[in-house]
Amino acid sequence: MSPVMVPATDHAPLVVSYDPEAFEVPTGREEEWRFTPLARLAGLHEHPQATSTARIEVSAPSGVTVTDVDVAELEGDASAPPIDRISAIAWAQASTITRVVVPAESQIEDVIDIVVDTPAGVSFGQLRIDIGAFAQAKALIRFTGAGVFAGGIQVHVADQARAAVATVIDPAPTAVNVSRLHVRLGRDASVTSSVISLGGDLVRMNASVEYTAPGGDAEFLGLFFADGGQHHEHRVFVDHSQPHGRSSVTYKGALEGEGTHTVWIGDVLVRANAIGIDTYEVNRNLVLSDGARADSVPNLELETGEVVGAGHASATGRFDDEQMFYLRSRGITEELARVLVVRGFFADILGRTRIPGLAESVMTTIDARLGVSDLVAEVLGDGDDGQS
């Protein structure tokens, strides 16, 4: 905890601006930057020029439109403005925004598949998804590539619409990904957002939700797996500014290896007029080996006491020697024991994303990272007939 107590709304961004120069270059001592290894940000804070181009490819089911629009068109009230220097630079440097629109009242069954490829070099990109009133849609956004990327995703869910959005950050080991995901919810709108970070050298993801009318419902899920010295930082900001909203934030991380560092900061702000809201946030981390470190800081700031519920929890546990002994005493190898425990740990998150097939693909990636053999995949992949 910081010894300095700042009055109300100390968790909302103090400055919002489209101008990068409105934000200082951080020194690393700021509360928002104290966990981030600034030297590994590849100069994103200074005056970065795009040296390559992020490709945003959308496979849109019929009924969904995709256009490129000028960033100027979506400034002002049409978007949430940048909250820090990198998000402002990423906005200023992206000349166009890829805009995906799901028309009002449409029910889109198939997942809108979006790949953001970030080739070597420095690139920027902006994505905007609009889910019209009463519509339902699901989107899967996957970051790939080996480059340094900064960008933003904004998801606007109009009145009574229902969205599921999963963002999978699994670029090459050299990649740097500093992204922002912002969700704006209309009246009685709901979103399930899943942020999953697996790859890259440094990932810093800022996920936020704002409520423009009463009754919005945000389920924010997060899963991160880091090893080999990766830095994965997840920041969540839930801004309850309307009555009768709901938010549920559940992030889980597993990490191993010397120098690996994960950070979770969960800020929930319940403003004075946000009466009758219900919020809960939790972060759980599983440390699989010595030398890896997980930081976890939940912040809940209540400006009204008239809430249905408000709580938070945070726990970091180790996969301990007794658990390992028990599993191994049943013939299970050390490697497989870890897979079993990690799979079990993530199962509830992966069961709630509402994106078909996502759980399997994420677990396959994690299995491979844990060095699992085919036999294991076969035993644990419950669907098959166990032929060998």
Partner: protein, 257 residues
């Protein structure tokens, strides 16, 4: 015929204040088809013996040997021992949050058998084994040992025994914490597996109660880290009547001479 042979086994436990010797020369040979009961007072080192056989990393063998059919067990990792046919039903089974019983059992059985059982046959096998131990089917989807009562944990250990089918099974106080009904169900499970004739059983217990259900061929009295007396089932009866007192006295006298 598989044989587990323990010769002059000395072991210590790592504590904050250094190594503390616990086992002080254990000799014991168990052959498939036999049941040996090891009985002794609290703190005499019974669980330590069980853990050392299974390879728990906290214990260090300082002298002696353990072999399974002539192969050095002490040289094997914990999971290698299990795959070689050793099984330990623990006095205090460990909770593993997030790992379902069904996933755990299937992974274990696959590891020990060397190939994954066909899913449909496996589900049938697991359900039948659970039913035989009066374990509710809902346990298959619960996390391993998490929130299980003492008795449920013990049943779950014996369920593993019946599915893993080891050559040598060490049952550490499987009877403790069980009411009479549960004791009967668990004992029946152990007996079912014993009757297959495929296992040598080392039954560790503090009380003679379980020996009314599981009849041992040999009884050993364990005091101060070693076996101080061995005999047939009649030794258990003597212990029931007279307690450990005279053996404790004898062990002390033996140790000081």
């Amino acid at each position: 015929m598989s044989t587990l042979e323990i010769v002059d086994l000395h072991a210590s436990v790592e504590t904050d204040t250094g190594d503390q010797p616990i086992l002080r020369g254990v000799d014991l040979t168990i052959t498939q088809g036999q049941t040996h009961a090891v009985m002794g007072p609290n703190g005499s080192g019974k669980s330590t013996l069980a853990y050392v056989i299974a390879g728990h990393p906290k214990y260090r063998v300082t002298q002696g040997s353990i072999t399974l059919d002539g192969t050095d067990v002490l040289d094997m990792s914990v999971d290698e021992r299990a795959r070689a046919g050793l099984f330990l039903a623990m006095q205090y089974p460990v909770e593993i949050p997030g790992v379902s019983v069904s996933n755990f059992l299937r992974t274990s059985v696959t590891a020990v058998r060397g190939e994954a059982p066909k899913l449909r046959l496996w589900l049938k096998e697991m359900k039948e084994a659970m039913a035989a131990l009066s374990i509710d089917p809902s346990f298959a989807e619960r996390s391993v040992n998490e929130g299980f009562s003492g008795g449920e944990k013990k049943r779950h250990e014996i369920l593993q025994l019946e599915l893993i089918k080891p050559k040598i099974a060490v049952l550490d106080e499987t009877d403790s914490g069980l009411d009479v009904d549960a004791l009967r169900v668990v004992s029946e499970g152990v007996n079912r597996y014993r009757e297959s004739g495929q296992t040598g059983t080392l039954l560790i217990t503090h009380y003679t109660r379980i020996l009314r259900y599981i009849h041992p061929d040999f009884v050993h009295v364990f005091v101060d880290g070693r076996i101080v007396e061995s005999g047939g089932p009649e030794l258990a009866t003597a212990l029931e009547d007279e307690g450990y007192e005279k053996f404790i006295g004898a062990a002390r006298a033996g140790a000081s001479s």
